[in-house]
């Protein structure tokens, strides 16, 4: 009985550790998706500026408070504008940006089809 109790306590402790590690991983993932606004071409994760460090501790604090990933993005978007997110949202300003690669892919495919497959026949 004593052993089982001990075992359970150890198990719980390890699980706490896991929960913490998960938050840490999520924090890294989120900060990699954030642009360090005062640096040139660096993410918050990569930067060691005061601004980036503050953001890192804020993300950690929000995760500990139980915020979801998307809620943190929304919060920061509200404070700093969409520019802080590396992945631009799909709206009327950015649909060209999002659709251009697909468009180029289709045109390229059409050229290949025309040049090689139609030629063979």
């Amino acid at each position: 009985m004593k052993f089982i109790k001990f075992f359970l306590i150890v198990l719980i402790l390890f699980n706490f550790n896991l929960a913490k590690a998960e938050n840490e991983n999520l924090k890294n993932e989120i900060t990699k998706n954030l642009r360090c606004l005062i640096c040139q071409g660096q993410s918050v994760y990569d930067s060691d500026s005061e601004f980036a460090n503050s953001l890192k501790s804020l993300v950690k604090q929000k995760l500990d408070d139980g915020y979801k990933e998307k809620e943190i993005y929304d919060f920061l978007k509200d404070k700093y504008g969409e520019w802080i997110l590396y992945e631009p949202e799909f709206n009327k300003n950015t649909y060209f940006l999002w659709l251009l690669p697909i468009l180029l892919f289709l045109i390229g495919g059409a050229i290949i089809f025309k040049l090689f497959i139609l030629k063979k026949n």
């Binding site: 606004l37 005062i38 005061e50 601004f51 460090n53 503050s54 953001l55 501790s57 804020l58 604090q61 404070k79 700093y80 504008g81 520019w83 045109i107 050229i111 025309k114 040049l115």
Partner: protein, 172 residues
Amino acid sequence: MKVKFFPFFLSLIFLLIFIVFFKGLNKSNIYAPDNIIEKKVPSFSGKLFNQEKEVNSSEIFAEKKFYLVNIWASWCIPCREEHSFLMELNRIENLEIIGINYKDKTDNAKSFLNELKNPYDLIILDKNGTISIEWGAYGVPETFLISDKNIIKKIIGPLNTDSFSEIKDLVR
């Protein structure tokens, strides 16, 4: 037909790239947020400087007058520059100056205030910089003018004669 299609497509791509880069030439690469005016004061709580007391943002901005929130640190050189303006603004009756002490050592902050005098009616400690993030700040110094719980002006960087007189006009 086949001969004509390829050069046409190529020139179209070049034209597209040219337009994108040409437009980019005129764009400033300094990012200034445009969504800061007419925003509500963020909610936060923090410890007071020199006191073992925690305050909430709703208590601080409760009265119906102007508030000037200034983010500063003793290690920040431009903060020394703008200090005289803050001392001057401190004389205005219906303006309360609230300092946010950004990532600073308490002893250094104390000697900074002893040396240059204290213009703040209230100082909130921001040890890890998260309160400043709540304000949407980039660094130190940064100043916000608040009226009726709305941010009506934001100054990034130290105050100068222009922003000083602008604040004075707004508060009057």
